[in-house]
């Protein structure tokens, strides 16, 4: 009995924090999402107006589509780059000192804030930016490329820049746990480098890939500031939909969108977890 009580007491502080700062706000959002609103007022109610508006609007569907598109493209690119970097660090760099040094090198961009890293692309990609000027001076192009900045390209570039490390870290971590004698065993069994990669390294790295995927997908799907800055407010994703509603003080509508987004992301993660058991990595 007392043992039971002590157990509850030990769990209580964290449970209270989570209740107060995670569960309660979410419940509040869910409640508000059923409220009603006019141009100048918000009133408590229990109605499905916000949701029916959301699901009826073709704009919302397109914005959700765009969000998925960003998530998918950024996932493919970060996975490709992240896996390659992690592979290089884990299997090609022999000494631990160099591994640590190069790994820290990867984290240097994180010494400044997200926003600054984002904004620093603007003078680089702009119409008269460094990229265009260099390409013109090399004679590769005659006139500035318009699609470099304020486009899907720049949005995705910034996302990849911001989030690749979230892919590198878990994959590197899993790869470091792969026993090198497994690679020798594969070679002993006649596997080529590529066969070893496909049949040994990738299957054993799956949990890391999955954790990285969850990071990147949730970050990209929940983002609004990158899309706003890097597209010059010309592109939209669900995050921007919510932030616009908030800007217009349309809290019930924003809350409904947030609930739908939350459910979508949870669904995506649920599907991902069906594929790979990440528990042994935690």
């Amino acid at each position: 009995m007392t043992r039971n009580l002590i157990g509850w007491l030990q769990a209580a502080p964290l449970a209270l924090v989570l209740m107060g700062f995670l569960v309660a706000p979410i419940i509040m959002i869910v409640i508000v999402s059923f409220w009603g609103s006019t141009e100048y007022s918000i009133y408590p109610a229990f109605q499905f107006d916000n949701y029916s508006y959301l699901f009826a609007s073709s704009v919302v569907w397109r914005v959700f589509g765009a969000t998925f598109k960003y998530a998918a493209i950024v996932w493919v690119l970060t996975l490709g780059i992240g896996f390659t970097v992690a592979y290089f660090l884990a299997f090609h760099v022999r000494s631990l000192t160099w591994q640590i040094a190069l790994f820290l090198l990867c984290t240097i961009p994180f010494w400044t804030s997200n926003i600054i890293r984002m904004i620093s692309w603007i003078p680089f990609l702009g119409r008269n930016g460094i990229a265009n000027q260099t390409l013109i001076s090399w004679g590769v192009i005659d006139e500035p490329l318009e699609w470099l900045l304020y486009s899907d390209f720049s949005v995705i570039l910034a996302f990849v820049h911001l989030y690749t490390l979230f892919m590198v870290v878990p994959i590197f971590n899993t790869m470091m746990r792969i026993d090198h004698s497994l690679l020798e065993a594969a070679r002993d069994a006649g596997a080529t480098g590529f066969q070893t990669l496909v049949n040994v390294i990738i299957p054993l790295t799956k949990p890391g890939i999955m954790i990285g995927t969850i990071f990147v997908v949730t970050l990209v799907m929940g983002d609004f500031i990158t899309v706003r800055f890097m597209s010059g407010s010309q592109r939209a994703n669900v995050g921007r939909l919510i932030s616009n509603d908030i800007g217009l003080l349309q809290y019930p509508s924003a809350a409904a969108t947030a609930v739908v987004l939350l459910c979508t992301v949870l669904l995506v993660i649920g599907i991902l977890l069906r594929f790979v058991n990440i528990r042994k990595e935690l």
């Binding site: 020798e184 065993a185 006649g190």
Partner: protein, 324 residues
């Protein structure tokens, strides 16, 4: 599976930068024999094995298997297979798929490779565990699977890197006889690296004793043990005393040292009951430590305790002269 193949090492050398790990060793492994390479850690035995396997590049010299110089071929093209110290089973594959791995790499279809893998599992008596994963097996079972996986390629030579070191003593002795049985059945050469001389004596038709990057002595197990050439071999193989007589060193088997009424006087240092024998170490007046293995029944007729004075005697003819 054939009657064994010749394997010869010719001036085989391994350098890591400036340090010599293996220094121009020559050895001819007889076809179909069980050879144990043994020595203290850092003597170059593992490097030698890994060079034969192809997991370590050869700095100089060559490895000739069945008449072909294989020293620069990739591991799978050599006709060797290696069993790793920690077994190196693929944790994400079932036992069956682990054994069939090399066949899958060759592009052999599923039915054929699984049938072949089952055959090998039969050989090591692991058929019942085909669908398990390595993490669900005990150490001894993992070892059998690793053996089956190495043998599925039908190697001409099987290389074993300290295969028994991860097992508990009871299993170690059981797997020892298992290995020996397999080797006899398959008739191929097994090269087994170990640092335990009891393991080497129990298993090896031939022993190769290495020290400081060179072969100290090689030959049939009984010859190596009963006629050590050097002081190192005599001490490493155990059961020997090294005694200096007039400046020349001799090896003297511990069971040839008798406790008697006359002879070299010494003081008992320690007494260890070992079952059939009692191991008694005594310090002579010149400060040499002499080990005597006394048959148990004889010892307990007049038991000795540390601190007691004893007389040590031996038949002069049993002294075996050492080269260095």
């Amino acid at each position: 599976m054939g009657a064994g193949y010749d394997l010869e090492l010719v001036n085989l050398t391994k350098k890591y930068g400036e340090t010599l790990a293996v220094d121009r060793i020559n050895y001819h492994f007889k076809p179909g024999s069980y050879v144990c390479i043994l020595g203290p850690s850092g003597c170059g035995k593992s490097s030698t094995l890994r060079m034969i396997a192809g997991h370590e590049s050869v700095s100089d010299g060559s490895i000739v298997l069945d008449g072909f110089d294989v020293s620069h071929l990739p591991p799978a093209k050599r006709g060797t297979a290696m069993m790793f110290q920690n077994y190196a089973l693929f944790p994400h594959l079932s036992v069956l798929d682990n054994v069939a791995f090399s066949l899958r790499m060759k592009g052999i279809d599923k039915a054929t490779r699984h049938a072949k893998a089952r055959e090998l599992l039969e050989l090591v008596d692991m058929t019942a565990y085909a669908d398990r994963f390595p993490a669900q097996l005990s150490g001894g079972q993992q070892q059998r699977v690793a053996l089956a996986r190495a043998l599925v390629t039908q190697p001409k030579v099987l290389l074993l890197d300290e295969p028994l070191s991860a097992l508990d003593p009871f299993l170690r002795i059981r797997m020892r006889s298992e290995l020996k049985r397999l080797q006899r059945e398959l008739g191929i050469t097994f090269i087994h690296v170990t640092h335990g001389q009891d393991e080497a004596l129990a298993l090896g038709d031939e022993l190769v004793v290495m020290n400081n990057s060179v072969i100290e002595q090689a030959g049939p197990a009984r010859d190596v043990w009963s006629a050590p050439k050097t002081e190192f071999v005599a001490k490493f193989m155990g059961g020997h005393n090294v005694i200096a007589v007039n400046g020349t060193k001799f090896a003297l088997r511990a069971d040839d040292v008798l406790l008697s009424n006359s002879g070299l006087s010494a003081v008992v240092n320690s007494v260890e009951y070992q079952g059939g024998h009692v191991a008694l170490t005594a310090l002579t007046e010149s400060g040499e430590e002499v080990l005597s293995l006394v048959p148990e029944s004889l010892f307990f007729q007049s038991p000795k305790n540390p601190g007691d004075s004893v007389m040590l005697a031996w038949n002069e003819g049993r002294l075996h002269r050492l080269q260095s």
